[in-house]
Symmetry: C2
DNA sequence: CTAGATGCTCTAGCGACCAGAGCTTCAAGA
DNA sequence: TCTTGAAGCTCTGGTCGCTAGAGCATCTAG
């Protein structure tokens, strides 16, 4: 039985975050001391470590809530847990692809900038005119008004 | 001179977002019709396209604010603009690296799961015990209490 | 016994918007 | 010209996952 501060130190989850998890029902309400301070058990620490790890993996809290309730039912099929993880993997892969495209565009932008004045700055120019890079065009072609 | 709806359609930025940008001072207050509706110019459209593109590239609004004020001073050196872009590139690369690590771990997790019951589900197990993957350990080693 | 670290609750804020209520204005067709 | 329905207006509150601070109470080590 230990305090919220020790739980925080042990799991790497900040104190207000632990209270926040309790508030949104991700952690059960712990026992209290006579002076109303929270007291945690090893079991609670495990649960929080679980949450922490899932957060590190980018799972949203709602997915974690579901994973937790699954892990409380050891007899059930883990099909649902797999599905959640697969969804998360797809999500992560999509984000990577998107970020890689951004990285390439940023690199191109910087490669072409000769670092002179703003008037001829490639960075500003590319930002102002989407047509200069390889995407959907939301820029303003001369002479053409809005639809 | 056209309405907020047309501006939205032309730039792909949603109407409430345009009003939000105005509210936080990223876009100047436009003229109004007699009936108090916003009227935009081609110049405003260009400015919004600039913002939109920078957002697509993941720049935070504060960085965009700075880039906009730079682009309003064509005589100045573009050194600052470059710096912002370089910072953003580093940021993006860091995020990619982090996500790639997550992706690998998620894949490992899923590879090893035989899809039986929760009790033997690799997904749940790995989430519960950080020691099973290759990171800093915040899990609960048996017998060891919190610090 | 006391000082200072830690705990408590509550409220508000972050970024970057989105949604809805309840109203007004505009634009196109009859 | 009138009407109707889309689009506009302001304002408030919600999203996600926390984080920070105010203003107290309690615990713990010396």
């Amino acid at each position: 039985m230990f305090s919220i501060g020790r739980l925080s130190a042990a799991t790497g989850v900040k104190v207000p975050t632990i209270r926040y998890y309790e508030q949104i029902g991700l952690l059960p309400e712990p026992e209290r001391t006579g002076g109303n301070q929270r007291l945690y058990t090893r079991k609670m620490q495990e649960r929080l470590a679980f949450i922490r790890h899932a957060r590190d993996l980018g799972f949203p809290l709602e997915a974690i809530r579901e994973l937790l309730s699954l892990s409380d039912q050891p007899g059930e099929s883990c099909h649902t847990a797999d599905e959640i993880a697969i969804r998360q993997l797809a999500e992560v892969e999509a984000r990577i692809a998107r970020l890689a495209a951004l990285r390439d565009e940023l690199r191109r932008m910087l490669d072409h900038c000769a670092s002179h004045t703003i008037a001829e700055c490639r960075v500003i120019e590319v930002l102002g005119n989407h047509a200069l890079c390889a995407h959907d065009d939301h820029s303003v072609p001369k002479g053409a008004g809005p639809a």
